[in-house]
Amino acid sequence: MRIALIYTRLRTEERMLLDAFEEIGTSVTVEPVDVRSEVFDLADAGKWSGYDLVLDRCVSLRASTTISRVLERFNVRTINRADTIEIASDKLQTSLALEAAGIPTPRTLVAVEEAGALDAVEQIGYPAVLKPTVGSWGRLLARVNDRDAAEAVIEHRATLGSSAQQVHYIQEHVDKPGADYRVFVVGGEPVAAIARHSEHWVTNTARGAKASGVAVTDELGELSRRAAEAVRGDVVAVDLFESPESDPRGRRMLVNEVNHSMEFRNSVDTTGVNIPLLVARHAIAVAEVEKATA
């Protein structure tokens, strides 16, 4: 059995995964492939047909979406699937998938022009949160507290942003009472959770939030399992937070987003769960099924 681990930069997570495969030590051959210099022939799978599974760990979204789609055309199974990558990497698509699955998520409005965007912010009320539909690590999120700020952010997006940023994705600001949560889901099972605390309203560890391990409660586990299923995710991290009791709709746990290429380097010690080992085991299990049915 052969598995390729594809990457554009080999970070700590990818090294941990390679170590995990080595630790399992079965007859699986795992080959790290730096895809930056690869060429893909759309008429010929070439070497890729020799892999039972390709584990995507590209930090570049462009690489992940492109390659997973090409490999799908040759029936080469990827983790995650191309659909999952496309849905999870786009906040609009994620919101649509969560809403369709009946999963509680912050109220979100979308507009395609500046005029509609300002109206959407006014409908949401202040403060409101404006996000680019594509982006990660908390980049370019804006919380606007009044109409002046909303007009400025919307105008900047329309003038300076790429076309993707001109989809105005506007969300209610949830004044979360404490931490927010991240649940790691592997093969449909919520395996570990962390709570993230920050003085800043953006509780992203890439932005300096502090993480600690917490139990996967029934509520966290169930919502995360459903969120992963909504995006057909094999290996995803689900971000959640709770609204305060004072919220007009009461205290609720909400799914905020789903991450298709999760980072976990700081979550193994904090949770006591060997996340890369679980990912490697799941990848091997999927590859075995693929090999058996090929």
Partner: protein
């Protein structure tokens, strides 16, 4: 003979030690100056200061 794998940081010239043979594109941090480095060639090892985060990077 020691089998420790090392290279020099292009930023501060400190010795960077690898626990395992590095791979192309591997990212490491210099223990002395803390700059993030990328392995641009695995054998012989060549290191460069890692690029800034690009717009489509993320998780």
């Amino acid at each position: 003979m020691s089998d420790t794998i090392t290279a020099n940081c292009p930023e501060c010239d400190a010795t960077v030690t690898f626990a395992k043979a590095p791979l192309n594109g591997e990212v490491v941090r210099c223990g002395d100056c803390s700059v993030e480095l990328e392995v641009t060639n695995a054998d012989p090892i060549a290191l460069e200061v890692a690029p800034e985060v690009e717009e489509d990077w993320g998780e």
